[in-house]
Symmetry: C2
Subunit: 548 residues, 2 copies
Amino acid sequence: MKVALAQINTKVGDIEGNISKIKAWTIRAKKTGAELVLFPELSVPGYPSWDLLEQNSFIQANEKALQALARWVKEPAVVVGFADKNPSRIGKPIFNAAAFLYGGKILAKRAKTLLPTYDVFDEARYFQPATSNLPFRFKGRSIGLTICEDAWNDQGFWSQRFYSVDPVRLLTRKKVNLLLNISSSPFDRGKLKLRYRMLQAHAKKAKVPFLYCNLVGGNDELLFDGNSMAFDGRGNLLGQGKAFQEDLIMVEVPPIENREKWQEPSDIEQVYQALLLGIRDYTEKCGFKDVLLGLSGGIDSAVCCALAVAALGREHVSGISMPSLFSSEGSITDAEDLANTLRIRFLKIPITPLYKTYRTSLEPFFLEYPEDVTEQNIQARIRGNLLMALSNKFRALLLSTGNKSELSMGYCTLYGDMSGGLAVLGDVPKSTVYELARYINRDQEIIPRSSLEKAPSAELKSNQKDQDDLPPYELLDRVLKAYIEEGKDIQRIASQLKLSAEFVFSLIRRVDANEYKRRQAPPVLKITPKAFGIGRRMPIARGYLGSK
Amino acid sequence: MKVALAQINTKVGDIEGNISKIKAWTIRAKKTGAELVLFPELSVPGYPSWDLLEQNSFIQANEKALQALARWVKEPAVVVGFADKNPSRIGKPIFNAAAFLYGGKILAKRAKTLLPTYDVFDEARYFQPATSNLPFRFKGRSIGLTICEDAWNDQGFWSQRFYSVDPVRLLTRKKVNLLLNISSSPFDRGKLKLRYRMLQAHAKKAKVPFLYCNLVGGNDELLFDGNSMAFDGRGNLLGQGKAFQEDLIMVEVPPIENREKWQEPSDIEQVYQALLLGIRDYTEKCGFKDVLLGLSGGIDSAVCCALAVAALGREHVSGISMPSLFSSEGSITDAEDLANTLRIRFLKIPITPLYKTYRTSLEPFFLEYPEDVTEQNIQARIRGNLLMALSNKFRALLLSTGNKSELSMGYCTLYGDMSGGLAVLGDVPKSTVYELARYINRDQEIIPRSSLEKAPSAELKSNQKDQDDLPPYELLDRVLKAYIEEGKDIQRIASQLKLSAEFVFSLIRRVDANEYKRRQAPPVLKITPKAFGIGRRMPIARGYLGSK
């Protein structure tokens, strides 16, 4: 049997558009001889639909669309994800379900048993879990169909497990010839290897082919990487989908000799591709064609700009230089050089007249106060206002360019450089920004060498350097990773990195104390296991700063 | 037996402070002869601690504190809430637990069975549910102890239920003499009556006294109202805690004749008290003494200012008037009158010089474009920058004053009037703002009558009125309530309010399209069943605007 894995890019809430795409790709798959086509988890309503799932009319529209699709599907058979009503008056009102459509009918429906409720996942908020999942028959085969997390609780694979049942194991006990899993599994750095090993382990243990179809696309902060894959019953790879692109993968089961070699781009290439997808999809799915961003001459805005150009094309990107009294000549030139290299629209708006007017307006009230961070913030917020004015006037999405290290430490200005519709580098540590810059420059110098080499500076006062206020980024990033991504406590971080507990505490305290800024940050494109945003929910008013 | 309900105001994460308070109130209760003292749900770590609950060191600190407290408690017995480790390697790592402490020991531990995972609640994210909850004995009595949501699944009370088990019912089948429930149940308008009826129904059905101790205090967006209560086995009220204040309620069980009369302040008084508590606690718990806010002369900022003065005292509030070319003389006078009436510090900073400088700076780029909303936003953002500069310089928390109706419709400027650390009226519909104003003015005119009577205007262009862009607030608020709070769809709203579906769609579409602004709003004090913020999670990039 020829099976197609159709890893498509759905749009949250766009039921009509998603159905059209499902039909178009079914036709494509049919032409290549497929007898069965898999689409990702919740492909009809889009994933993640969040609280749209609490709207009755939305659930009804998704059900109607599924019914109509079922009537349309003849041959090949189609597996799609949808939100199915829970007929009981007890429990959550819907299931996270998959429908197996064939010959104008719904041949089988299966619901998700394991509902991830951690990090960015809130599935217990919406869905009632399935209490059983049995195989069904199609063309003489016994098929086991699971949804995403259902495959993430293998006792042999995980030492700590969130759930007591393993739906894949239960299915294989019932003798299946084929295991299918439809997913919407978001990307983070390092996850692809894990998925590969885990799914391969399932296939080996079950001794039957395991086919996995994953979503592609950016939806707000989440980036789905595709990378669908298929294994035979010995764990050999039968097929692999592209990373960060829609793709149709054809697989023959039982397999004829067509093993594939596992391909995995380098870590930094994956991050690069993920960010391009995130910029492109957020911009388009929000209805924008153009973006703009401030160009300071520093590395963050340069990398962000290069990403935007690669994602959208140079004609859709504008770079704005807003020099102040404290901007070095080099920075202004670097910004201009970058814009020239990328051949984007470039505007220069000096902020000194504005800054002076603010100083004058506030002078009567500030007389008795020494200069402090206030004056720096005023400049950053002047830039925020100018960028938003251009964004409003030109109907271009403003990208904010701050990196994760700054956002962690609160080394950024709310309503200033934090302004924008999307925080492109908000989950990218400063050291990874450098990696990205070198990756972008791999063939030719796009990011000016001086942006790469000079000491980072906010240039909001004379001779300011980031390193006056922060430890070196290499060191800082190791502490931040241990604390934010790995959830380690101060003592453990200190002993592991051979630092004093006081020093580690001083950094972590600052991370915790700046929660209030991040609460008002734009959506952050997630590329690490723990990003700021919906996946990290921290109280602002509290008495526990970095565990003392 | 004399039982004390100690409804205290805990602080999230402040384990040490919470323990000190628990001890102090235990001593107080002992002096009045209590043999048992109840404290709210999760009183040791504070509620809601969010992802602090994922930090090992935090869980350990809370456990250590509980152990030490257990050794300290002799007589009376004490019930407190804490996060208890799950010893199994399967499931979430902690329970939402209650400990019954007596004579230097932990006499019993019980864990929460029903974990609310909807609206503002994410308990399935953190906690493993209990699978059983049996009564325990104390001084010859059989006691059933449940935690908050455990009491919210009575089959006789609810037509649709989230859970299949009713822990209170299961306990009463085992013959108990006394039912206890410790809670952290947040306020919304109308909820108190519901809680009263529901708890009374439990007592009547079980035919034993039911004692309920609820948290008090503001924690970020959530406002806990206290209102602890106790019923005898026939549903008569034995005692009631104060609303929005710490309180110690003494109850005798089995009851001697001491029935109380149920007291409930008017709806608007409850909202008023809730907002005062929210302002006071957020300010203090974030470490601020002072607040400031912009005074436009309009009703929102006037109400917000009066609330801040009532919450913090006039010496801690500054009002800033920032007139523009488009400010009416009346508005400037109204702002000044309000400041005089409330005797607060008042600053006036005209924004015309700044606005002109922005226009000049942007002129070369805007030449070919007509004036639009951009110019209005620039003014709002100038004010945002000035207010933040004063906030930074004076170390005063900036309150944002926009109401829920504006926030719903996006009739507000991101980084402009939306700036601030706390959105005081962000869950208060415009019509409720008027109600609040009349309540504030009940004894004397604090809000100037002209602020109450004039047509609302953003005053960002000549002769602008809110009603040029929005329907009358009375009508708008009914549509918004039906859509946001009651989750109704367009057809139902239209038929119910006798409006055209097109008109309702035009409003709902606007609510949905402005999600991106709300994503970057400050925390909103929640006073309705559905507030913007953590309780309403909507995708930004999406294809479903108001269900068409």
